[in-house]
């Protein structure tokens, strides 16, 4: 295929994609305006846009997003701070692996959100519950990926580095960590994705006064479908930005630069 043809095909794809979105939006808008459904349940697109714009302009939406991000980052940070070293220890020491692995296999199949009522009882409503739920959700992918990543480091590299006189310290920082990095980065990404889902659920169930999940759930009481849809847009946008911009650039700066193929599955 010639370059011109690929270009033409791509632009026609783009055109069709845009057309789909426009048609879908138009269909939704006519449905919303038809009065077949109550206006409160299916707000028109200009209403949603207006709500989104005003809540962004007066800062409430930003505060909600900030509260959610704060919870995610704290829980996710703790999960990485514990999951990463523990995963490395598990892969390096049999004894640690024998202890942690059975517990992990028992706890992992429990969805993090199942703990919400228990944590509410133990810690009361508020930030602690959401942060802990995020921590629970993010811990296992981090642990699992680090552990398999360190074990997947090619033994030949270890032996070669050892033969060239690398000590434990150099071996760890120069061989094991870079070697395990595709898995570790996949783990970070997966953990963040899980945290992002968990925080929304936790905020709905254990809602305090701020947070995107809480806004959506609270809007249900007042039949504010436009607020719900506006918050959904913000949630999707943040998730998308984190996935593409943050983790994409981490990947480019590390494993692509080091010339390691993406061997880990996300």
């Amino acid at each position: 295929m010639t370059a011109a043809r690929i270009l033409a095909e791509r632009s026609s794809s783009l055109r069709r994609g845009a057309l789909t979105l426009i048609i879908a939006a138009a269909l939704y808008d006519t449905l919303a305006r038809s009065g077949y459904f109550p206006q409160a349940l299916t707000p028109t697109l200009p209403t949603i846009a207006h709500t989104l714009f005003t809540s962004l302009a007066d800062g409430t939406m930003l505060l909600h997003a900030g509260a959610t991000l704060y919870r995610v980052l704290i829980g996710f940070g703790f999960a990485v701070a514990i999951g990463l070293p523990l995963g490395v220890l598990m892969a390096r020491f049999r004894r640690v692996e024998n202890f942690v692995l059975p517990l992990m296999s028992a706890l992992m199949p429990i969805p993090s959100l199942a703990w919400v009522p228990v944590f509410i009882l133990w810690f009361g409503l508020g930030n602690t519950v959401s942060v802990l739920i995020v921590f629970y959700a993010a811990l296992f992918p981090m642990l699992l990926n680090t552990w398999s990543g360190v074990r997947a480091v090619n033994p030949i590299w270890l032996r070669a580095a050892g033969a060239m006189g690398a000590n434990e310290h150099a071996l760890f920082w120069k061989v094991i960590i870079p070697g395990a990095s595709p898995f570790i980065i996949a783990g970070l990404r997966q953990s963040f994705l899980r945290s992002w889902i968990a925080v929304i659920g936790a905020e709905m169930l254990a809602g305090s006064d701020w947070g995107l999940g809480w806004v959506i759930f609270d809007a249900k009481e007042f039949l504010d479908a436009d607020v719900m849809l506006a918050s959904l847009i913000v949630i999707g946008f943040i998730g998308f930005a984190a996935e593409r911009l943050v983790f994409g650039s981490i990947e480019r700066a590390t494993i692509y630069r080091w010339g390691m193929a993406r061997s880990a599955r996300v």
Binding site: L21, L107, P111, A114, M204, G239
Partner: protein
């Protein structure tokens, strides 16, 4: 999830030479340690017994609810919801994904919609679904289906696209018509990906179903059991419910995910 499988093979191989008793003990002793700590904390009365019940009262709650049939009823309803939602997602997802993989027009039309819907956590739609469909089973099943459809669509699409051009051409050269091409080349070629998608979709459905049950105020279901028990400070009932959730999750992993993986990887000799 593949990592877990690999690890298990590794662990099994390494423990192969030791006695079965020691192998079992190795898996049990972490639970003995954690259980012992739990018992100690519960009996020392650091926290009120209501909030931090000892293991025997959790077991008693478990036995009591199982014998009276309450717990099985909750578990059954949860499983029905999971199956119904997931079946819906599998049918729609595979159809849409295969269509997208086979037809450029369908791909152009559906891909933007899928890419916009996928990054939003499914649970965020829950209040919207509740608003539109009212509380109960319909929004719960619809939401589970909606959430688990994305990985199925995405993987089926990738799988159909990953079918080697040369297989298609050689089958065509040997005179296969469209239907045979689809049944004997495209579908088997894409199946490992489709199965991966189904597995991811089911895992995702399982992760949100419990939360959906809490939000949707369904009459029965494990999520509702836990959430309802919170009102009455029945921590033992909540933890018994979580134990059942863990058992079902383990069952899904052992009886569904692993056989599916072995089925595709072993039978087709492909690594998904």
């Amino acid at each position: 999830m593949q990592d877990v499988v690999q690890s298990r093979k590794f662990a099994a191989a390494s423990a192969h030479d030791s006695h079965p008793f020691w192998r079992a003990w190795r898996n049990i002793y972490p639970f003995v340690v954690v259980g012992g700590l739990w018992e100690a904390v519960a009996h020392l009365g650091v926290f009120p017994v209501q909030f931090f019940p000892p293991l025997e009262s959790i077991a008693a709650a478990f036995a009591r609810l199982t014998i009276s049939g309450v717990l099985p009823h909750h578990a059954f309803d949860t499983l029905i919801r999971l199956t119904a939602g997931f079946a819906l997602a599998a049918i729609v997802g595979i159809a849409a994904g295969v269509l997208m993989g086979r037809s450029r027009r369908a791909e152009d039309i559906l891909l933007p919609l899928v890419s916009i819907g996928a990054p939003i956590p499914g649970l965020a739609y829950a209040p919207l679904f509740l608003l539109w469909f009212g509380p109960g089973n319909i929004p719960a099943i619809a939401l589970v289906a909606f959430v688990s459809a994305f990985p199925v669509i995405y993987n089926s699409w990738t799988g159909v696209k990953a079918v080697k051009e040369i297989w298609l051409r050689s089958a065509q050269a040997m005179g296969a018509d469209d239907r045979r091409l689809f049944r004997h080349v495209v579908l088997p070629g894409a199946l490992p990906y489709i199965v991966t998608g189904l597995r991811l979709g089911l895992a995702q459905a399982w992760r949100i179903l419990v939360a959906v049950e809490m939000l949707a105020a369904v009459p029965w279901g494990l999520g509702w059991l836990i959430f309802g028990a919170q009102e009455f400070l029945n921590t033992d009932v909540m933890l018994a419910g979580i134990a059942v959730i863990a058992l079902i999750g383990l069952g899904l992993e052992k009886l569904v995910f692993q056989p599916l993986e072995n089925f595709t990887v072993v039978r087709w000799g492909m690594i998904t």
